[in-house]
Symmetry: C2
Subunit: 305 residues, 2 copies
């Protein structure tokens, strides 16, 4: 059962699970690419509706919890973020416990839970001092998962994913900068960039994220929290320059003031996932970006919807 | 303004503030010892009522946030704990920001935010892996305070207080083990103890806690989070044995099964508060316990109410 299965990572995960022969259900608001969810038992609903979540979870063996808010709205309405994300996650844990779900795999945020990191690449053991409400609520869910395992034996894994990109990502509420740069440039539109483009991010191709999710679903080790990134950072300006090369077209940028919630550098250490999940990213940034560009070129008018 | 001013620490803090000549307001549900709050401008209200909190905060310079749930109910209703504690704390931060409050001093939990500590005594930099929902919500408020300083410049201090004891503490929902042991033994009643009494706690006399709160209200250093304890642990059985000596009476114990939310050892390192707040505990455990016993002896029928 993929909660948030209609989003970017969810769509990619569902496709892979179906292709691998699993019985797959998904839950969420109207999926962005319904035609891609062939073979998926789709449950339409709001994550705050515990009865709907319980019906979707049913007798699932593994629940992927990919339901997320986005960084900017969370900062504007922090209480609402708790109400829409953390409280329903607590209800989900109760549902999974009662339904005998074998494991919850939770998608957390490698880019926000650490805040301004002292060590780069940042290991899982680093201090967690988010400068965005989004990171605080992700962290709270992580802590409650650990508590549910302690109190009730509910098994879980947390993946702190950095900046994923690839097919089926559409620019949405300031998330998905690569999708925005590629699609807007193909449409000959200008791109808004917060800050001067010097922020460094750990961009990871979505196929590698899906690999990590599958490893986390079946892993039998003692690790619980894993960074999922590439361990390598690149600045937004470097990304833009590579997009220009691949599209053979100038990216036209409107620089906006930097945002308080953006850390200057976010790159994670992935030694733990390598060692304990046997996972490592396989797609070079250039290859991933080429595939992303190729996907956008297949979209009529370079629009997602 | 002392939010939660009618409780155990709140009553002690209010008395000290009044005695020191400050203009003192307090907010909360009906105080347990109203006659002790002479000179305090009392505001009756529920912490969830943002308008009532805003009216109480008014033009206060410093807000002490002592409103707390208790460990056991928080574990039973984790979502309710978020709704009653964390979400109103977010509203409080907004209120303080708009009212121009100079600083929030927040009482966090030295006994639960760390979970099962790897290092004892535990420093503030240790991992925070609570095994009680109470610790998770305290931690969330700490993180939001840091975020509010980052976003809005709202100043704050966090005191992670261990196990306070002393006058005006009454046994309540399994908090206040010393108060329970002393008062029930004076009344010749049996005492319930969770587990075998081997749990080790860092008991700190409430006058020393009040000293720390005052230091944190005026400190101008760069530290934000401070452990407040004695740095020394003693087991519940040791405490009981000292109570027996002071009362010259046998404590009759009903041992109950241990609780999943109790860590075996909780003792904090207080080097940071010593160095940055210039604070240290002044009252020996024996002296504090004697004063607690003396206080209970002044209560008619050894009852608080």
């Amino acid at each position: 059962m993929v909660l948030g299965g209609g989003g970017f990572i969810g769509t990619n995960l569902c496709k892979r699970l179906v292709a691998s022969g699993f019985t797959v259900g998904a839950f969420g608001h109207s999926p962005r690419f319904p035609q891609e969810l062939r073979g998926v038992d789709w449950h339409e609903g709001d994550f705050s509706n515990a009865a709907a979540v319980a019906a979707a979870v049913g007798t699932s063996e593994v629940v992927f919890h990919l339901v997320g808010t986005t960084p900017q709205p969370a900062n504007i309405d922090m209480a609402g973020d708790l109400e829409r994300h953390v409280i329903p996650s607590l209800a989900l844990m109760d549902i999974c416990r009662q339904a005998g779900v074998r494991r919850i795999v939770f998608v957390s945020s490698g880019g926000t839970v650490y805040g301004k990191p002292r060590d780069v690449p940042t290991p899982e053991t680093a201090a967690t001092d988010p400068i965005a409400a989004y990171g605080i609520s992700k962290l709270a869910v992580e802590k409650y998962l650990a508590l549910f395992e302690h109190l009730h034996g509910l098994d879980y894994r947390v993946l702190r994913i950095t900046n994923p990109f690839g097919p089926f990502q559409v620019p949405f509420k300031s998330q998905g900068v690569i999708a925005a740069v590629v699609s807007r440039t193909l449409r000959e539109e200008r791109v808004e960039v917060w800050g001067d483009g010097s922020v460094v991010r750990d961009f990871i191709f979505v196929d590698d994220v899906v690999d990590a999710l599958l490893s986390a679903a079946t892993d039998s080790g003692n690790g619980r929290i894993f960074n999922v990134g590439t361990g390598e950072g690149r600045s937004l300006l470097e990304v833009i320059s590579l997009v220009e090369r691949l599209l053979d077209r100038k990216v036209r940028i409107d620089f906006k003031p930097g945002r308080a919630l953006d850390v200057p550098v976010s790159v994670v250490a992935i030694d733990r996932a390598r060692a304990l999940l046997g996972w490592s990213p396989k797609t070079s940034f250039e290859t991933g970006l080429q595939r992303t560009v190729d996907w956008w070129r297949t979209r009529p008018t370079y629009r997602a919807l």
